[in-house]
Assembly symmetry: C2
Homo-oligomer: 464 residues x 2
């Protein structure tokens, strides 16, 4: 409407389900990512990066029908789009690309494309955003980070041990200790255990995946809910009850749980083999960071159908939702290569870990990257000397902001406080004549005079 332009409100919020990160948010996220990256690297993993967009063909059909609907499609361009639009098109005909849905399908593509350039065991980590056109909700975003760790090429259970240890060490270094309220559990199970339990309780082979889907919801809907769901998915009362009764009696303690499973599954080939593998994983983690956190959980199912061996999930006691999860998936990585390639991995849920760290106050008070010193702006006569001082301090590694305008000092100090800068320096005519700098502590308000040549050392001592 004419005349309204000057009051028009532009929509300046980020797009639905995505977030803007202001400096403190970025620094906190970066602090966590740096720890994850350092630990992943200490386990011999190397970084991989792939485009945000993948061919639509690469993405479709990999995540089930529901997954296909959650892929953000990128439209074709120019004449190709015109042709597609001309003739009652579908969503897949107008698009030729999509935003990546996870970091696992890109890994499978990489393994197929660069097989000659990759080492015998490809140990990669990938920390990057993924995209899902899901309904946004508290804690559920359409753009969110995954922190993946995978080993491609080995069936050794040492791989599981390394991956679990790396995940546990990340959380320990972030401040999660023990397995009680302030710590975390690594719930561990095996797809073969689940299959064995179904065999011996009489769930028909054809209904195993139906049963898995139901069992996977135990956290959300409880035992009664799962039983109802098992029934609704065609599993009869006897089998449902037997399955749930059986797992309800599993002991908590790891060795006892493994013995119990061994006994119960002695007549199931699938089950017996799985228990042997689980025991192997537990033995191999015994001297590492994961040891104190592992809990055998015969209920743990993990929704994704591609898992083939051990599966695991991070649980924060007293909090719902998972902080990460993974497992062995020996048939997925080879999908673009037409061969079977063993693989095993783990993904940390960055968003959830950040949320819990915030609740528990686990971030350091001072985050690396924030400016440490403000050089005030006095007048045009002393500006050159102030610029020189800024440069000299930066050369020593200090993070130095320089107030751009010759404003009144109160305003300059307020700006420093707003930005969390703890110290301001004043270098005016008097200081220049005396060869000093006035150092003002903005927390205490105290100020002192320091010889020009000593300022860097003085600041460094004060900042530590």
């Amino acid at each position: 409407m004419p005349g309204e332009t000057s009051v028009a409100r532009f929509q300046t919020k980020p797009i639905s389900g995505a977030r803007d990160f202001l400096p403190l948010d970025v620094l906190r996220r970066q602090y966590v990512i740096d720890v994850i990256e350092r630990v992943y690297q200490s386990y011999g993993f190397e970084p991989l990066d792939t485009p945000v967009m993948e061919r639509l063909d690469t993405l479709l059909g990999k995540y089930g029908e529901e997954g296909d609907q959650l892929i953000f499609r990128v439209a074709k361009r120019g004449a190709k789009l015109q042709r597609a639009l001309a003739d009652a098109p579908t969503q897949d005909e107008i698009a030729d690309a999509g935003l990546r849905y996870d970091l696992t399908v890109p890994l499978a593509r990489i393994v197929a494309e660069y097989s000659n350039q990759l080492p015998r065991y490809f140990k990669r980590y990938h920390i990057a955003p993924v995209y899902r056109a899901d309904r946004p909700a508290k804690g559920r975003f359409r753009e969110f980070y995954q922190c993946d760790l995978d080993v491609v090429g080995s069936s050794s259970k040492l791989v599981e041990a390394e991956v679990l240890n790396a995940g546990a060490q990340v959380l320990q270094e972030l401040g999660f200790h023990g397995r009680d309220a302030s710590g975390f559990l690594l719930r561990l199970n095996h797809r073969g255990v689940l299959r064995g339990l179904m065999e011996i309780t009489g769930v028909p082979a054809g209904l195993e995946s139906e049963a898995l889907v139901a069992v996977d919801k135990l956290d959300k809907i409880g035992l009664d809910g799962v039983e109802k769901e098992l029934r609704s998915r065609g599993i009869d009362q006897t089998a449902s009850t037997a399955l749930l009764d059986l797992t309800a009696t599993a002991p908590e303690e790891t060795d006892a749980a493994l013995c119990w499973l061994e006994e119960k599954l002695v007549n199931s080939d699938n089950g017996a083999q799985a228990v042997t593998e689980l025991k192997n994983v537990v033995t191999l983690t015994q001297t590492g960071p994961a040891a104190d956190h592992i809990r055998i959980d015969p209920y743990l199912a993990r929704g994704l159908s591609y898992y083939t061996g051990p599966i695991y999930e991070i649980e924060f006691p007293t909090l719902s939702g998972s902080g990460g999860a993974g497992g062995r998936y020996d048939d997925l990585i080879g999908m673009f290569s037409n061969r079977s390639i063993p693989a095993c991995g783990f993904s940390l849920g960055l968003e959830r870990i950040l949320l819990i760290m915030e609740e528990r106050g686990l971030f350091p008070q001072k985050l690396a990257g924030q400016p440490q010193v403000l050089i005030t702006n006095f007048d045009s006569e002393t500006l050159a000397a102030n610029i020189e001082l800024a440069h000299a301090l930066r050369q020593t590694g200090l993070r130095v902001d320089h107030y751009p305008d010759p404003d009144n000092l109160g305003r300059q100090f307020r700006y420093a406080e707003e930005r969390n800068i703890p110290v301001a320096l004043l270098l005016g005519g008097n200081e220049l004549a005396a060869g000093t700098v006035t150092v003002k502590d903005l927390t205490s308000g105290e100020q002192e005079s320091v010889a020009h040549a000593d300022v860097a050392d003085h600041l460094r001592a004060g900042l530590h």
Copy 2:
């Protein structure tokens, strides 16, 4: 076709114009980004991050008509898409989002949305990929990184000095020194100088932007080419010749060039004011890292119409194309806020800098992040002791890979060499009995026996 499934070739290359980065690529990119980030932070800048997708409305109309065509559009979903597709839709009706085209429009959106939370001067850096549906070519990608540095809120020319110094310091720390073949130039000009030159040579005010577009092509098409283009854009022979003759006589040396401009532009208000500002910028950079690299270039135009003051571009002598560029753009940041907000920034061209660093061999031999030690896999009896060793070494900060399978040693060593791991450790039955570890230098082939307790120190000494 039936029977062909097993030989079907999936397309596993990355999408056109985008790249996969294998570990060494990522580590090299990360090395450069780390330097950029450290220097930016040392100048008091803080990180910002925004979503890869923006509302289509936010992006359209900001980059000219050509730019609008280069925006990757993300399709609407579900019923909204169905409705849009039903009725002879256009490319803008089927999409509700687009991939960001640069990091400047997102900054403008952030300044409008969070004005209450941002400090008086907002000094942010943003290192992230941007997307353009351009025709891919050598060195031109559809997904590429920008490394932006901007100060919002001040008109002080100290801001220009800080931004130029930060850019220069990044390049110096990456190994570019001086202004000759192995170094770089910061070509500096001012939009007001260009305007002034046109005034005094008789280019009509209405044709100034036409003339700017032509002058901006000097690098690519030479003086004759520019003259032809000026003529074809409606600028008469006299003005064209005068404009080109005039700038051709500008002295190389900075102070001389400024004096020359001052003389020539004494009768142009625009021009005189611009020269004063340029002199100010030059004076304020005199004691910083940019000082030795600045060259006044009255031809430099920079294509983007949003610049309002000083403009600059990094040039690598003997190489075409720019390594970064920026300028003052006082009218753009306020576009979502309906107010005028001064701003000045700089963007380093990561891809081009990486390319030149590779050509000149400027990457360090050893990149942080690569594994340093391989623990070999002996047999199942000694595996636990080997896992313990791996864990102990990682605790000291070493990056340790552990070979997953009990393979023959030659194969294990080859794997280490493939991955550039310089040292392998052997801890078998004999070593365990003797309390030692055999340390094999994979470069020389030599091996020695080291007491178990001393291995970490021994490795650390050898790796440095």
